[in-house]
Every structure is written in C-alpha cells, then in structure tokens.
C-alpha cells in the first residue's frame, strides 16, 4: 500500500512538473542552462558552397577555405576569432591561439604574442617558429585564399623568441588583425606532421591544434572529427564527436533535420523553407546579421555601361523595396553602399543616391535609344530570384535584359573575358578592408571589378592603412559617395543566411548572433553543446 501511495505521489509530482514546462519553447532561452559535456553532432553543409572542399583541408592550398570555416576552425582553432554579444552587437576580433598583439613603427609592424603551452594533436608545440613557418608557407602558396598584405621586402615574417611573431608591412596595415579571420594564415598546421606526411597526404588528414582532430576525410562528402583531449582551452570542446556532411541543398537538409539525421544546418537561404522551419517547434532558426549587400556591378570599361546615363537608368529602374517586400518579406533593410547593419562603418543612406524612379529610367533609356543588358550571377537560389525580379523591373523601363547564372569556374571565365556587362554579386565584408571586400569589386586593374577610378583606389588604400576608426569611417563614406555619384553600381540589400538547428543544440554563431566576416558566420565550435535530455 505504502509503496503504491509513494508511486502515485511521484507520478503526480512528475505530472505537475511536466505541466509546468511550457511546450513551445523556441529561441535560446536555455542560455541560463549549464552547457553539458558530451554528445555527437552532425553538421550538414550545402554541397554547392561550404560542403565542398575538393582541394583538401591544408590552409595553404584550400581554395574553398573561406567557405569551409567550420571544417578549418574545428581542426585548427585559429589564431584569432570574431566574437560578439549574443545579439550580434559589439563584434570584435579577439586573440584565440594568439595571446595579444601590438602595433609598432606607426602601424607598419605588428607583434603577435602566441599563448604558451599550446600543442598540436601530434604533441609538437604551437610556438612562434611554427606560426612563422605557416605564414611564410601560406603567403608563398598559389592559393588566392591568402591575405592581400603588402609585406616589407626585408624579413617581413620573423619570430622573436619562442612566443612572438613579427610581421612587417610596407605601409601601415590597420586591418591586419581583422584580416586574419578570413584568411588561411589564421589556421596553423603542425610543421612536423606536414613534413613527415608530405603535403599531398597532409591535406587529406591534417594535423592542427583545434578543438577536434581528424578521424576520416572523404573530400566534399564527409569529415569525421573527434574531440581533442589536449585542446588548450580547459574543459572544451563540449562535444565528443563532430561529423560534417555535404548535402544537396536546403530541401534535403531540412528533411534530414526533421528526421534526426543531422542537428545543424548552416546557411539556409531558401525563404519558403525558412518560413516552414520557423513554424517547426523541433527546430530553432537563427537569422545571422547581414554584412555584405547585393550589388549590381556594372562594367564601366565597355559599352553600354561606359555611358553614365545607362548606369543611371539602371539605378532608377531598380526597385529594391519591391524585392525586399516580395522576396524577403521585408526582413532586411536596403543598403545604399557596400555596408550593412551587421558590419562596421555602416551608414544606411548615401546623400544623392538615385532611388527607384521608373519615369526617369524610361526617359534615360529613350535618350540612349534603347538599352540591352546581359545580367549574370553565381548560381544560387536567392541570386537567381533577385536576377529574375530585376529583369522584370528593368523591362518595364524598356531595358532588354537577358539573365544567366554560372558555376564558379564559368563565372570567373566571364569576368576574365572582360565582356561581362552587369553582374549581381555581394560586396563588402564585416570589415570592408578584408576578404572579398570592397577593393575586390571596385579597384582598378582587377578583372572582377567594373570600375577603374584612381580616386576610389586611393581612398580605399588610405582606409585600409588608417588605424583610426573614425577616419576609416569617413573614408568609406567618401567611397560610397563616389560610387553613388558616378553611378558605378547600385546596391540592394544585405541578406544573411540562417542557421537551423534542432532545439537541443546551443552555441555561438548557431543560436546566438555573430556577424559573418564574409558570407558565413564563423561558428565557435569549441563552445557548441547539446542538451542530453
């Protein structure tokens, strides 16, 4: 009798507790909850972008390294990393495997201190010598994933003692620390392992000092990682095993998450699926901050866009607000320059920017006697939709538009051929001076830029060198002003992909916001944990 009574009480108690828990908890309101150790997590990556690593995972040769942030940071950790408050504000680059840094020689030299006692997973030490070896190797590699540093001619990369790396530049390089997080120099490989395995084998089974080590690597298919017990951050990572799989797109990824074969999908862009995922109580959708707006690059070197009136016509014919409402359901603010509200130096408006005005567009087209445009882009769901909308809008102004989208190889060919007329791309980055930033799209002498304007070149250079944020801000505003005045390239809005996770997963960059430095948010995998319940 007593036992039964006790059991009934227990049952009643359990029911009361269960009843008190709200059934539909979304969002990371478990932040107060304590992270738990353990768990095996599968990350799904889109095979068209981050789920593709055909050249291996050696930072010196991984051309897709900028898209493979998850793979690289899990294996290598990183000298620096980008962190932010949970809501994405106050983002800054902080030292991770580095201990700190100081600028000397009016910004032309930077001394980076390395944290003591860090070991690669093969037991050898990650010290200044190892870092110097790496940076030298990366800068000499043929990959364009290295940073665009103007290194000094004499001994630009040296070690001072066992814990300090000295980098010398020709001009002051204020953005150097920020540039680490998107470049291959952030990932330090074990020189011992590299030498004993040889580069060909190393790129398949790399050795780093990150939170995880490689178990198996099937290129562009599946990467299996296990916890690094000697990781330099105590009690991290939380996860025991991390499996990274490539999958064919948002739809199969969404179904895999629903079926439980994956816990994280990075970078969902298909808007109808995002709507579905948001309604799904088993999943948590986190829209990351936006840092790179869509821009319609116009090739000012050849007809028709060597004529400013044609360029202005495009500005007037483009209805960004309609695209924003129709495609993105009003989710993102429009940009008039290469910055967005998730990144640095953002200003929402540029004085004198030519906004949508169909009559002016038609008038200009008539003046020109007609306008025919070939508009291309890199093949992607959202880009294709934006291009289609633009085609319709421009046709209304009398601009005959053909649209096409290419894979990467074809796109590069298009740019290099020099015959391209208009390209929908993204421009800018969290820090406009780094990565596929502004220089890439607006400097002279670069095939991927439609602009040849020495004023912009000099402004960008100064902004990259200045150590004063206020001055950089003013300079970037001037660049934006110039682009707008000369009608070089209209901007639309900055769209950021979302992370979709099952509700038991928590982590920075997954369930909290971190601005993407270039395209994808860099998730801090050593801080990711799963509730075991």
């Amino acid at each position: 009798m007593r036992i039964r009574a006790k059991a009934c009480l227990l049952l009643a108690g359990a029911l009361v507790v269960a009843g008190c828990t709200k059934p539909d908890e979304t969002g990371d309101n478990n932040q107060a909850a304590v992270p738990q150790r353990g768990g095996e997590l599968t990350v799904l990556l889109d095979s068209a972008f981050s789920g593709s690593w055909p050249s291996g995972l050696d930072p010196a040769t991984n051309t897709t390294g900028g898209g493979n942030l998850t793979q690289m940071s899990s294996i290598y950790g990183g000298l620096f990393r980008l962190v932010a408050d949970d809501d994405g504000k106050n983002a800054k680059v902080i030292p991770h495997q580095a201990a700190g840094y100081e600028f000397t020689d009016s910004g032309k030299t930077v001394k980076i201190k390395i944290k003591p006692g860090i070991k690669f997973t093969d037991g050898t030490a990650l010290d200044a010598a190892a870092v110097v070896f790496n940076i030298k190797r990366d800068m000499e590699a043929t990959c364009t994933c290295k940073p665009t540093w103007q290194l000094a001619d004499q001994d630009p990369i040296t070690a001072e003692g066992t814990d300090t790396v000295v980098l010398k530049f020709k001009q002051p390089n204020a953005a150097v620390i920020n540039s680490f997080v998107v470049a291959n120099v952030n990932w330090v490989v074990s020189p011992t392992a590299l030498q004993s395995m040889g580069p060909d084998a190393f790129r398949i089974k790399p050795v780093g000092a990150g939170p995880f080590k490689v178990v198996s690597n099937a290129l562009s298919s599946e990467l299996v990682l296990e916890r690094n017990p000697d990781y330099f951050v105590k009690d991290r990572p939380y996860l025991d095993k991390l499996t990274i799989r490539s999958i064919g797109g948002d739809q199969p990824a969404y179904q895999a998450l629903q079926a439980g074969q994956g816990q994280v999908y990075e970078g969902m862009t298909t808007i109808p699926l995002l709507e579905q995922a948001k309604k799904n109580s088993q999943l948590v959708v986190t829209q990351q901050p936006a840092t790179s707006p869509y821009v319609i690059q116009l090739n000012t070197k050849i007809p028709p866009f060597n004529d400013k009136r044609a360029r202005e016509a495009i500005y007037y014919a483009t209805n960004g607000e309609a695209i924003r409402q129709g495609l993105f359901k009003g989710a993102y603010p429009l940009s008039q320059s290469f910055t967005a509200d998730g990144g640095l130096f953002h200003h929402p408006t540029v004085p004198g920017y030519r906004t949508y005005d169909l009559e002016k567009a038609k008038a200009l087209v008539q003046q020109l006697g007609g306008l025919t445009v070939d508009l291309g882009t890199l093949k992607a769901y959202v880009a294709d939709q934006v291009n289609t909308a633009l085609q319709t809008q421009w046709e209304a102004a009398g601009i005959k538009t053909t649209i096409h989208s290419e894979q990467l190889n074809g796109l590069i060919q298009n740019f290099i051929g020099g015959k391209w007329q208009a390209m929908l791309q993204t421009a800018g980055a969290w820090d406009p001076a780094v990565g596929v930033g502004v220089g890439f799209r607006f400097s002279s002498g670069v095939p991927f830029s439609g602009v040849s304007d020495p004023t912009i070149d000099s402004l960008l250079q100064q902004a990259g060198q200045s150590t004063d944020p206020a001055q950089r801000d003013a300079l970037y505003m001037q660049v934006g002003q110039r682009i707008s005045d000369e009608a070089y390239a209209p901007f639309i809005l900055a769209f950021a992909p979302a992370s979709v996770v099952t509700k038991n997963v928590h982590g920075p960059g997954l369930t909290t916001l971190i601005p993407p430095v270039v395209v994808n948010t860099a998730i801090l995998w050593d801080e990711v944990w799963m509730s075991q319940a």
């Binding site: 739809q251 179904q255 808007i271 109808p272 579905q276 129709g326 294709d384 319709t392 894979q407 074809g410």
Partner: protein
C-alpha cells in the same frame, strides 16, 4: 499479306473471348478516342489558347505577388516565387516541353530506329561500324556527356534537344537492331531476302510494320522520360533556362523548396502526368489497331 491474314483470324480464336464484338468495337473507339481527345485538349491549351485567350504572361511577374495561393483573383492556380502566373507557365511551358520531347523522340525513332534496322539487316561491316559508333556514345556515362556537351553549347531549347538526342538516337538504334535481328530469321524475312528484295525495301515494307509497334511503345515511354530529364538538367544549370518555363524546370525549381511550396511541384506534375498517360494510352490503342488485333 497472306501470313498476316492468317494471324488475324487465329488471333481471333486465341484472343480473349469475353464481350460481344459490337461492344468491343465501341470500346476500341473509346480506347483511341479518350486519350486522343485528352491530348488534343492539352495541345490546344498549350499551343492555341495562349494566343487567343487573355492569359497572363508566363514571365515578367511582379515580385510583390510572389507565392500567391490558388484561386487568387487573376491567378487561378496561384503564382510562383517570382510572381508569375502558374497556369500561364504551365501552358507555355507545355509548349516547350512537348516540343523538346517530341523532337528528341522523333529524331531517335527516325535516325536511330532507321540506322539500327539498317545495320541489322545489312550485317557485316556496315553493322559493325554503325553499332560501334553508337556503342561509343552509349558507353560514355550519360552525366558526363550531358554536362560536357551542355557546358560547351550552353542552355536553350535547341541545345537541349541536341544533347538529349545523343541518348535517344543510340537507344532507338539498339532496340531497333535487336528487334530486327529477332525478326531476321522469320520465314517471311528470309523469303524476301532470297527473292532478291533490296535492303532498303525490306526495311521499309517488311521490317517497319513489324518492329514499328515496339519502337512506338519505346517512343511513347521516352516522351515522359525526356520531359522529366529535361527538368533534371536544371540541376546542372542546363536545359531550358529559367525564367522561361518548361514542365521539367518548373518541377525542378519547385522541389528546391518542396516542404514550403508543394503546389509549385504539384501543378506541373499533374500536367506532365496527364500528357504522359495520354500519349501512352494513345500509343497502346494505335498499336493495337495497327497490328490488326
């Protein structure tokens, strides 16, 4: 020919013995009539209707109208993610899909079927050369051939037809050759050869009516397959380039967000299904009529 007459009467003895002859004749008319009617309707809707009726344009839709559900005023089947009317896209897309599918299968039937039969009938070195050439094409994995050809030629209707014909022609040739080989040793074929009939005449007068039915079945099946494959080419960025519609590329675009936009897949699939059923039923019925049974 005497032989076929004998076959007809014997088939009357051997064949199924159920309903009385008059109902069977009526049913036979229906067998042809129903699918023919359905197909005529589809063809009319796709080729004629857009020209005469006030149907919205299939492209150039207003992005603010995106993803409207069915029965929205002005858009009876709703709109797609770019704001284009789905019904208009199905009708105009049908034109493209039907054109591509019919052309590809016609080319296959005539060129492939003809060459295959010729090869089998002629035998010897002619057979060897023709079939080895086709063997080379067949031996290359279809994916490699499609992607390589399409990347060099680019997307579009004409190049899609060309690319897909690389498959239909050898396929028909092989089928046609196999069937011809089978028939070659039949008494009437041997007789024709012995009496000195020219190869060409044998192919046209004797082979074609006998292998025709099999090739027709294959062609009918092929129609549906081509329409679907053409959509799959979109997966590789080839085929009919959006926003120009085709049933295949509409289904493909729709499935990218299947969980969110199932109707974008359902409507063109229904159109495709009805057409494929129509063609197959018609093919069956015509084949039965043709072979006199």
């Amino acid at each position: 020919m005497a032989l076929t007459e004998v076959q007809v009467s014997s088939s009357a003895v051997v064949a199924d013995e159920t309903a009385p002859t008059r109902t069977r004749a009526w049913l036979r008319k229906l067998h042809i009539g129903v699918p023919a009617g359905l197909l005529l309707l589809i063809f009319f809707a796709c080729f004629v209707l857009p020209l005469v009726a006030p149907i919205p344009k299939p492209t150039g839709g207003d992005i603010l109208n995106s993803l409207q559900p069915a029965f929205t005023p002005g858009h009876i089947l709703g709109t797609d993610d770019n704001g284009n009317d789905i019904l208009a896209r199905i009708l105009v897309g049908g034109r493209t899909s039907l054109f591509v599918a019919l052309t590809v299968n016609l080319l296959g039937l005539v060129i492939g079927g003809g060459l295959g039969a010729l090869a089998a009938q002629a035998g010897g070195i002619v057979d060897s050369i023709i079939m080895r050439l086709f063997d080379v094409l067949i031996a290359i994995p279809s994916l490699a051939l499609i992607v390589a050809v399409s990347l060099s030629l680019g997307p579009g209707v004409r190049n899609t037809i060309l690319t897909l014909s690389f498959f239909s022609v050898p396929a028909f040739a092989r089928i046609s050759r196999a069937e011809t080989l089978r028939l070659r040793e039949q008494p009437f074929m041997v007789a024709a050869r012995l009496s000195g009939t020219s190869t060409w005449r044998i192919v046209v007068r004797h082979l074609a009516p006998n292998i025709g039915p099999q090739l027709m079945t294959f062609a009918m099946l092929g129609l549906g397959i081509v329409m679907v494959i053409e959509g799959a080419l979109s997966f590789l960025g080839l085929g009919i380039r959006p926003p120009a519609p085709s049933w295949g590329n509409m289904i493909f675009q729709g499935q990218l967000s299947l969980s969110g936009t199932p109707m974008l897949v359902v409507w063109p699939s229904i159109a495709l299904f009805l057409t494929v059923v129509g063609f197959n039923q018609l093919g069956e019925a015509v084949r039965l009529r043709w072979s006199g049974r």
